[in-house]
């Protein structure tokens, strides 16, 4: 598998700082799945959410792009 940063087959996505190689055909949901199935389960259950570097939410069905940085954050319970 090619490790070039911008092959059409795979792109580089970071989840919580960890680098993944994933097909650009997939979405944020799949990046989480590839990173950690439990993290995805937490997001689906509403116990966590995906955010960008500024803390703004990123939708699970959002498209990926090369170099995208995602962060899984816990939802704070009052």
């Amino acid at each position: 598998m090619s490790q070039n940063a911008t092959t059409h087959e795979r792109i580089k996505v970071f989840v919580n700082g960890k680098q993944l190689w994933i097909s650009p055909a997939f979405s944020v949901r799949h990046a989480l799945l590839a990173h950690d199935e439990d993290a995805l389960a937490d997001v689906i259950a509403g116990e966590a959410y995906v955010a960008d570097a500024r803390g703004n939410e990123v939708g699970l069905e959002g498209a990926l792009f090369d170099g995208m940085r995602l962060y899984v954050k816990s939802v704070e319970v009052e």
Binding site: E9, P24, A25, D52, V58, G59, E61, F65, R69, E78
Partner: protein, 548 residues
């Protein structure tokens, strides 16, 4: 941050704004090759878009403030079911979004433009079952001025998309979709539109990511090509200026993100960095929140699912053209802070009721019970066959855990299929070598069960060590699998991304997410059988032979 404006909004003021709008005339015009706006469309655009035909304030004789409201990647989120992550408060819903838009129209100084960023329809039960009709109805009701075509607009095929474009009372735009080999623009897609508000001529150019094909069912875009958009947009922007447009906005279904520093990254940044002569770029596709500038051009992406509304204000020199950014932010649409527009809410409810009955609709008839299981199962074989047939693959794999209940003998309803496949998994295709085809079987074979397959037959011994359990693999016709040959394989997106610890699929080549819901493929296949007068019979159990 809590957003309060309940005291400003009553239903009567919303209706009042709309009635006021109808008293003014404006002359919006659709432009682009081979497309002329029908009179009814122009009238609707005039009435919906001219809420602010008389600017309320001028800083000079040549100044006005243009407000752009942006909703992107709405994905059929007509019902208010989301929560704001920061506060836990309900956000979104068509009625709520409509109210926020109406409030901005009422309070904004100068003309107001309401734009959609693409991927507006596919995604919710009401919208999916109505094939997007409910969302277009909502957008018409609100008075959108234009919308970009996104990749998911193709989910139900070009025929449905054309019907939705015809239903819309506003233009859908995309400048970089071409048909055939001669670089002829697809004649049913407008590259741009020109809207006039308060005597301000605004050019709206559409664009879509050139990588859209990797996330669209190939059958839906047969004969279409998606080119790099920058040069095309620049050329059109020049043309629009020559035609008198004082503002040029690019509606780009292209994604990106924003660093902590504020720097915008990703394809939208690359795209905007190459543009000339445009006043604003509104992105989408990535379901992110972006609010900043690239190349001195304001760039905004307004989240997704109606949980945010993008607001951008530009101070425009109406005499000479040119603009400067006054304000740009992407706000949560808190549902509890406003009274949802009752007209829109009522429309959504009528669609919801219409389709709630669909779950009781008879889809097909099973001649006998079709059961699932961890070993090779009739239901597993059936679903794998349908998956393979849906995308024309040679081989298909389905995990047993994705099939939740059996099919009983007799009537198969929509509800039964939803219970059988409750997840919104899509069909993914890829090329695997023969060696990888066997590896997938190895990863799926344990003493507790096997993968459900179509297109191949194999023998196995689960008691043997992992990696040595598959003894032979052939195509269903008997031909041996060749280790280095590439085979077109279908599976679901869960397994394709390593779900259930299937790592081999992550190594596939030319991975394509067709966006076809497996459940929809099953429903379509069964409906076809019913139309042909055929019952559904359980397939034979002859694909996975356990040897002692």
């Amino acid at each position: 941050m809590r957003f309060r404006f309940l005291s400003l909004l009553k239903k009567s003021s919303v209706i009042g704004a709309i009635i006021l709008a109808l008293c003014f005339t404006a002359t919006p015009r659709l432009a682009g090759p081979a497309r002329v706006a029908e009179a009814g469309t122009e009238t609707r655009l005039a009435s919906a878009g001219s809420a602010e035909t008389e600017p309320r304030a001028h800083t000079g004789t040549c100044d006005t403030t243009l407000t752009i409201l942006h909703v992107t990647d709405f994905h059929g989120a007509l019902l208010s079911e989301d929560k704001d992550f920061a506060t836990g408060k309900p956000v979104g819903g068509a009625g709520v979004v409509a109210t926020y838009i109406a409030a901005e129209r009422e309070s904004s100084r100068g003309p107001v433009l309401v734009l959609g960023g693409g991927d507006m329809m596919q995604g919710s039960a009401v919208s999916n079952l109505s094939r997007g009709e409910a969302v277009i109805e909502f957008m018409n009701e609100v008075g959108f001025d234009a919308c970009a075509i996104g990749n998911h607009e193709f989910d139900w095929g070009v025929g449905v998309l054309k019907a939705r474009l015809k239903q819309a009372s506003f233009p859908w735009v995309s400048s970089n979709i071409f048909s055939g080999e001669k670089a002829k623009r697809a004649e049913w897609i407008l590259p741009y539109a020109i809207v006039e508000k308060a005597n301000l001529k605004i050019g709206i150019i559409g664009a879509i990511t050139e990588d859209a094909p990797v996330v669209i069912n190939p059958k839906s875009i047969e004969g279409l090509r998606f080119e790099r958009p920058e040069a095309i947009v620049n050329s059109i922007a020049q043309q629009l200026r020559r035609e008198g447009a004082k503002v040029v906005v690019v509606l780009a279904h292209i994604g990106g993100s924003q660093e902590e520093s504020g720097a915008i990254t990703g394809p939208i940044a690359d795209f905007a960095s190459k543009l000339k002569g445009v006043d604003a770029v509104l992105g989408g596709h990535s379901h992110t929140v972006v609010s900043g500038t690239v190349n001195s051009i304001p760039v905004m992406i307004s989240g997704s699912n109606g949980i945010r509304l993008g607001v951008m204000r530009l101070k425009v020199d109406t005499c000479n053209g040119g603009s400067s950014l006054v304000e740009e932010n992407v706000r949560p649409t808190f549902a509890e802070s406003v009274e949802a527009d009752t007209g829109v809410a009522s429309m959504v409810e009528s669609f919801r009721k219409r389709f709630a009955d669909q779950l009781d609709v008879k889809i097909a008839v099973a001649s006998e019970p079709i059961t699932r299981g961890r070993g090779e199962s009739a239901l597993g074989n059936l679903i794998s066959d349908i998956m393979r047939d849906a995308v024309g693959a040679v081989i298909a794999y389905q995990n047993s855990g994705g099939i939740r209940v059996d099919l009983d003998k007799g009537t198969i309803t929509g509800g039964a299929i939803y219970r059988m496949i409750p997840f919104d998994n899509t069909i993914v295709t890829m090329y695997l070598t023969g060696k990888q085809v066997k590896e997938a079987l190895e990863q799926g074979t344990t003493e507790r069960g096997v993968l459900q397959v179509s297109g191949i037959r194999y023998t196995y011994k689960p008691e043997d060590p992992p990696g040595q359990r598959i003894k032979s693999v052939t195509l269903e016709g008997g031909e041996s699998i060749s280790p280095n040959k590439l085979y077109l394989v279908a599976t679901n997106d869960f397994m394709a991304n390593g779900g259930d610890r299937f790592t081999v699929f992550k190594e596939g080549k030319k991975i394509r997410n067709t966006q076809i819901l497996l459940r929809d493929a099953v429903i379509s296949w069964m409906e076809a059988r019913k139309r042909a007068g055929k019952e559904i019979a359980p397939p034979k159990l002859d694909r996975a032979e356990r040897i002692q």
